[in-house]
């Protein structure tokens, strides 16, 4: 499997080349186009209960797509729903990533996707919800974001503060605490940040340059209200 990002920027697409017999999993609805040698199947990743918990707990789709090059080699074009950058990570079998629920686009067949419950404070205030995806295994992982993706590299014990709702993915070796953006409660909210996540290295943190919730609130004012 070989993957390449086409049209990098706001409206990218991923081209994945599959050898005969190879398969990948992708978010349901992610396929844009593919060679005629590719078969599309839907699969409940992690079994029925796993899929059910993913659907109800993370809000992710119940089914994943499996794209299999069953009749010879071929290529698949994949794209996310929202405008925003795509990033390709190589998982080495030791690294694990936590991915916010809308961040997964596609991955090699060997990667493992699980729902994971966050702690109460992270779930309530982190902006990612109570359940996130934990992705491990060995192979290519394709993530998408809202806006541009920015990678933050943290050395051991190095800290970095990220506004909640801007997280896309972070390695399991990092840890984070939720805290107020400023020292006072009132200023925390009047500054427009509310709560922030203080990350501590080592590891990688991928953030998105736009906040989907804020964008939704902004666009709502332009939507005509029907009587």
């Amino acid at each position: 499997m070989k993957s390449e990002i086409l049209y990098p920027g706001a409206f990218p697409m991923v081209r994945v080349d599959l050898a005969a017999g190879e398969q990948i999993k992708a978010e349901s609805g992610a396929m844009v186009a593919c060679s005629p040698t590719i078969d599309i199947e839907s699969k409940m990743e992690g079994g029925f209960l796993g899929a059910l918990s993913r659907k109800f707990l993370t809000g992710e789709k119940f089914f994943f797509q499996t794209l299999r090059a069953s009749r010879g080699p071929g290529e698949v074009l994949l794209a996310p729903t929202v405008p925003g950058e795509i990033v390709i990570l190589e998982l080495d079998g030791v690294n694990e990533y936590m991915v916010q629920k809308d961040g997964f686009l596609a991955g090699a067949d060997a990667i493992v996707i699980e729902s994971k419950m966050q702690s109460l404070s992270r779930g309530l205030l982190g902006g990612e919800g109570f359940f996130i995806l934990k992705i491990s295994g060995k192979g290519t992982l394709v993530l998408n974001s809202f806006g541009a993706i920015h990678k933050i590299e943290l050395k051991p014990d190095q800290e970095y503060v990220v506004d909640n709702s801007h997280l896309v993915a972070w390695s399991a070796t990092t840890s984070y605490n939720i805290e107020k953006a400023t020292s006072g409660w009132v200023a925390s909210f009047t500054s427009g940040e509310g709560f922030v996540c203080r990350f501590r290295g080592p590891g990688l943190v991928y953030i998105q340059s736009r906040n989907p919730g804020s964008f939704g609130a902004w666009i709502r004012q332009f939507i005509p209200v029907s009587e």
Partner: protein
């Protein structure tokens, strides 16, 4: 060339920020860390003695064992998650590492425990709220009902009452009406601070039934009066029905049927919309059924009222018992007032506990009243 299976991540200045995958082996006096070569097999190897190491817990859920040491290139940090490696490390570690290892393990336990406690607290609170709503609903309903003015209740009952009577043959006068009037008067005289103007109507019908609407509107069918063997029996039913009104049972049922949101609206001061909401939802006053608790309450308060009015309360019990024994005729009163021996027994116990009062008989002759009913043409149901 052997295939490389990493089991840990090593961090340091010359490694990428995501960490360098490595293979950690625990031996007698320290760790051997093997990195992957550029060809994919085993590459650089580094051995560290236990004496150079410090350990702690780390990672997102504090479930990694973090091992640190300093070598010529600077500080190295190893993140171990593989349980086999961690177990081997704990077994081989010398004494000076035991305390920090125990601390790290304790920290992991603490974090897990805290998470469990937090989630249990949240789960518990949610359960508590649900239970409060479940069991506190009755209290909330009573609170809402107590805020509805009697005038509203009367308006509500009156419209349904007038509507019902237009479809029925009402008995305007005669011994039955006079007798019922006497019973009503004797009973209502004994109600302290009565906010209701009770209106009792006799309707010609073979149906063995009587009912009360919110606001004090009571209907007694001639069928019930024919079935009764004495005026005291009818007075018992009447007393029971009056107490449904006095306890505002009808209103409670309406509020319950309309749901929690209405209750909240009423408690917060919006009683005006009640009639509108009822019409909207099609809540029928005449088909309202009282709950078991309400029946028991009306039974007991009804009994006490009879006692105060010096009407023989055993008539009430006798009538109930007789109706429950035989299933003859159209005993609709029974369908809405299911009799059980337990209920009758309860009334008997209650009656025994009340102070004995010598009953005063009614001025009418019950046989005469019943004869007057029998001579009337019976309306088709």
């Amino acid at each position: 060339m052997t295939h490389f299976f990493p089991n840990a991540l090593c961090f340091g200045d010359e490694f990428p920020a995501s960490g360098s995958p490595c293979f950690v082996q625990v031996d007698g006096d320290g760790l051997t860390i093997t990195f992957e070569s550029s060809e994919g097999g085993d590459g650089a190897r580094e051995a560290v003695a236990f004496s150079a190491l410090t350990v702690s817990a780390g990672g997102l859920d504090h479930d990694h064992l973090v091992v640190k040491w300093v070598n010529a290139q600077g500080e190295r940090t190893l993140y171990l998650k593989n349980p086999d490696v961690i177990r081997a490390f704990r077994q081989a570690a010398p004494d000076h590492l035991n305390a920090p290892l125990e601390q790290a393990a304790e920290r992991v336990r603490q974090v897990r425990h805290r998470h469990r406690v937090m989630w249990a607290a949240v789960g518990g609170s949610v359960m508590a709220v649900v239970l409060c709503l479940w069991f506190g609903a009755d209290l909330l309903v009573k609170l809402a009902v107590s805020r509805i003015p009697v005038e509203w209740e009367q308006k509500l009952g009156e419209s349904a009452y007038r509507d019902f009577l237009t479809r029925q043959e009402v008995m305007k006068d005669g011994p039955a009406v006079t007798a019922l009037g006497e019973m009503t008067q004797r009973l209502t005289e004994q109600i302290p601070n009565n906010p209701y103007k009770f209106e009792v109507t006799v309707v010609k019908s073979d149906v063995v039934n009587a009912f009360a609407l919110p606001g004090g509107y009571v209907v007694v069918f001639t069928g019930l009066m024919k079935k009764a063997e004495s005026g005291e029996e009818v007075a018992g039913v009447l007393s029971h029905e009056l107490n449904h009104v006095l306890q505002r049972h009808g209103l409670e049922r309406i509020v319950k049927n309309l749901g929690l949101l209405t209750v909240v609206a009423i408690v917060l001061g919006d009683q005006q919309g009640l009639v509108g909401i009822m019409k909207q939802l099609g809540v029928e006053l005449l088909t309202l059924k009282f709950g078991r608790e309400q029946e028991t309450e009306a039974d007991l308060t009804g009994l006490q009222l009879l006692q105060r009015a010096k009407i023989d309360p055993s008539g009430m019990i006798r009538f109930f018992e007789r109706l429950s024994e035989k299933d003859e005729g159209r005993m609709e009163w029974l369908s809405t007032h299911p009799m059980s021996t337990a209920r009758a027994d309860r009334l008997k116990t209650e009656l025994a506990a009340l102070p004995k009062k010598s009953p005063e008989p009614f001025t009418f002759d019950w046989k005469h009243v019943q004869a007057s009913l029998g001579s009337q043409p019976v309306a088709a149901p």
